[in-house]
Structure formats: structure tokens, C-alpha cells
Symmetry: C2
Subunit: 233 residues, 2 copies
DNA sequence: TCTACGGACGAACAGTGTTCGTGTCAACTG
DNA sequence: CAGTTGACACGAACACTGTTCGTCCGTAGA
């Protein structure tokens, strides 16, 4: 009888599988995990990137992911690796090294901004990943071709990548805060108003140049900071 | 009888209080919370900063903290505010503006490094806090005294503060990782060895200048990046 | 003396990363 | 072709996290 009921269960399972069959057994792979995770980050931000949410989007439980990914940290690494693979490196041109360097950084910035908050993972995974090393290699090639000595080149790359991460983290937090609730979201005008509200006795320069402190639309500040580093070489 | 048992309980409580009395009722204040939290971060890192751990160190439960602090985010804000209050601002001197600027950034860096990982909170709390605004004011005064125009001054300050946070976050992660277990901890020599192991075909410059990429003891890279920004002005 | 009131706090909720043990399906082996 | 093996999928659980609710209690004011 056990056999009988078992076969009946099988029968029921087969019937149920009639619907699910086409989608049914698509196996979990690292690629599917990464793709799903990126989509999640893109729409809901890095804070929403959870093993459980990724697993749920794949129609399974969190434990299933750990056969393909050691850690959430490793998943983060994979994500920024994928992002890094999306930036294209130019063949170094001696006369345009500044523009080329800034362009690569800009690509990285845009990748990070597309997936809000993911730069937090970039700050942690900086040295380990092979794909980020590819970018470092490309930037090094550009600077060396431009005639920069190896050591300042290396240190400049380090500083620039650090800045890109910090810039994108802050930009993401400002436009995609965890809680939209009460007062956390402060737009430009609000910030300006608050700066003007400061006591002039203690914050004379801040009040006087509040508009300058608050200025910089788009990526003007980003470009400025980068050019600051590159002009200094 | 209820009264009787109540008074007896009181009596027992008073007896029990004989020992606990001297330490007993020290009330919870924001200052005590902040002090405890800072001590915790100093010894165990920012990842260990938990409402529960802070509460436990104060001999109570986590709910007690929420009478004095709205959020963990607000606690983070308070912490970096306290740290910011520790940096001393010089009276601006026109001839020494670069050194003064670098010195203030160095103070901030040291504060952040003393409490490993706390700079993560600084990246989030940048604009809101009043104490960080004090530093911005000080830096602005230094640059203006040095003859820098308001707008580049403001943007440079922004870039520098961002860089300080990123630098300290990365430095903290490198020396105080979450897990000391298997392979996450990679010291200088290990990194150098791995860089040399790369395929020369794909990473020619990285392999050739591996030692330069890995160089920079102490805060040499930090000073370099800062001077890079300041020379560019 | 009685009454409010504000801080302290136990318990609980929803959610996190991660692990253990079991199931189940596929492919290689005899 | 039958049988075993091994890798993968996954349910359940553990030890945490931040945060809230309702209750308690000690002190200040009427």
C-alpha cells in the first residue's frame, strides 16, 4: 500500500508538473544568482540585497545559494566584479591620458550609480578581486603612457578609485535613503535653507558661501575632484 | 495581604539593594551611551556596535536606549559628532594653508582610525551633522585665507572629506576584518606575491610595478592624495 | 497623601546570515 | 540495463540584528 500511495503521489506530482514543467528545473547557477542580485540592487538598492530575497526571486530558499556562493561577501565580490567587467579600457594615448583616465573613472562611477549603494561592497572588495585589478592595470597603462612615474601613478589610481567609491556611496545614500519617512530626505533647497539658518558668529564662511557649498549639479563635483588629482601630477 | 506581601517584597528589595546600592541607579544618559559605544567600537570595531551590546555594557536591555536615541543611525551620528569635536581647528594663516588643511584632515583620519570602521557612519552622516559642519567651516576658512576662490574651496573640501572617509574605511577593513578565519587576511607580502603571480600577458604593468602598487607605508598614500588635491588648486 | 508622568525594561516581532541534515535527481559504473 | 554514488536543492533551525508595545516603578507636583 505504501507503494500504491507512493505511486499515487507520483501521479499527482506529475499532474501538478503539467503547469510547472516548462519553468520547472532550471538549475541554479552562479550567473543566475548574480543576475538576479543585480536586478534586485538596481530596483531596490544595496540594502535590499539579501540572501533570502535573491533566493526568493529564484523560487527557492536561502540555503540553496550556499552551494554556489560561499558568503554574502563573496556574492558582493562577484557583483562588483561583474560591474568592473562592464567598463571598457581604451588603448592608452600619450596626449589624452587625462581624458582617458577621467573617462574610465566616469564609467565606473556610472556603473556604481546604476546600482545604488553597491559601492559599499566595492570599498571592501578593492584589493582581492581580479576584475578590479583589470581596471587598475588599464589605468596604470594610461598613466605610464602619459609619462607619469610608476609610484605616483599607482598612488593616484588608489586615491581615484577610493574617491569614486566614496562619491557613489554618498550619492546613493542621498537619493536612495533607507527610510523615506520623516526628515531624512533633504533636498538641495532644504540644505541651502538650513545652511543659511546657521549662526553667523560660529559659521561665518559657511553662511556666506552657502550657495557655493551646495552647488555642483550633475557630476561637476566629481569631475572637479578628478581633475584636481590629475592636474596635480 | 496584597499590601503585606508588597511591603515584604519592598523589604527584600531594600536588603538586596544593600550590595547594589552604590552602583544602582546611575541613570542612562546620552553621554553614557555615546561613551560606551565608543569604547565598544574602539576595542571590537564598528561591526560589533550593536544596540544590544551597548545596552548590555550599560547593564540593561536594548529597549532602554530608545528613550534617549531615536535610531541606531542617530547613535552613529552622535558618535561621529563626538569624534569631529575632537579635532582642533587652527586659526587660518595665509602662508601655511596647505599644511593647516592637511593637518586637520590628518586629525580626522586619526580619529576615524582609532575607532575601526566608524567612517562607514561618517559617509552616511556627512551633511546632517552640526559638528562636521564645524570642520567644514574651519577648512573653508583655511582655504579662503589661502586665497582659494569659494567654489573650488567648497568642492575641494568635499572631495577631501570624502577621501578621508574612504581611506579610513579601507584601512580599517584591511586590518580589522570581520572574519579572521581562512584567507581574508592578506598582509603586504601576500598581496605582493599574488600580484607577481598574475599572467604577464594580461597584466604587464601590474606585474612589473607590483612593488610600487603595494608600496606606501604608514600614511604616505594619504599624504600623497591630499597633496595631490592641494597642489592642483 | 494621592496622582501623574517619564524613564526603565521584559518580551516579542520581523528580518538577517549561515549551517545541518535530509531528500532527490542525474550520471557514471559494473 | 541495473545500481550506486555524488552533487545539488532545500526545510528547518540557530544565533543574531533593529525596533516596538505594554507594563512597571520611582519621583515630582497638587
Amino acid at each position: 500500500m505504501k507503494r500504491k500511495s507512493s505511486s499515487r503521489e507520483e501521479w499527482a506530482a506529475q499532474i501538478a508538473a503539467l503547469d510547472a514543467a516548462p519553468v520547472r528545473k532550471e538549475p541554479i547557477t552562479v550567473d543566475r544568482i548574480v543576475t538576479t542580485a543585480l536586478a534586485l540592487v538596481e530596483t531596490e538598492g544595496f540594502a535590499a540585497l539579501t540572501m533570502r530575497r535573491v533566493a526568493a526571486a529564484l523560487g527557492t530558499g536561502p540555503a540553496s545559494l550556499y552551494a554556489h556562493v560561499r558568503n554574502k561577501a563573496e556574492l558582493d565580490d562577484l557583483l562588483i566584479g561583474t560591474l568592473s567587467r562592464n567598463v571598457s579600457l581604451p588603448t592608452p594615448h600619450a596626449g589624452r591620458w587625462r581624458a582617458q583616465f577621467a573617462d574610465v573613472c566616469g564609467q565606473l562611477r556610472d556603473q556604481f550609480l546604476r546600482y545604488p549603494g553597491i559601492a559599499q561592497a566595492a570599498l571592501a572588495a578593492a584589493p582581492a578581486n581580479l576584475d578590479t585589478l583589470r581596471i587598475t592595470e588599464g589605468l596604470l597603462a594610461i598613466l605610464l603612457k602619459g609619462g607619469v612615474a610608476p609610484r605616483p601613478a599607482a598612488w593616484t589610481i588608489d586615491a581615484a578609485l577610493l574617491y569614486v567609491s566614496a562619491y557613489t556611496v554618498e550619492a546613493s545614500l542621498r537619493r536612495h535613503p533607507d527610510r523615506d519617512e520623516d526628515s531624512r530626505v533633504v533636498d538641495r533647497d532644504e540644505i541651502l535653507a538650513r545652511l543659511r539658518m546657521l549662526p553667523v558668529s560660529r559659521f561665518p564662511h559657511t553662511v556666506e558661501h552657502a550657495d557655493e557649498l551646495n552647488s555642483g549639479s550633475g557630476h561637476e563635483r566629481f569631475e572637479f575632484a578628478l581633475q584636481l588629482m590629475l592636474k596635480g601630477l
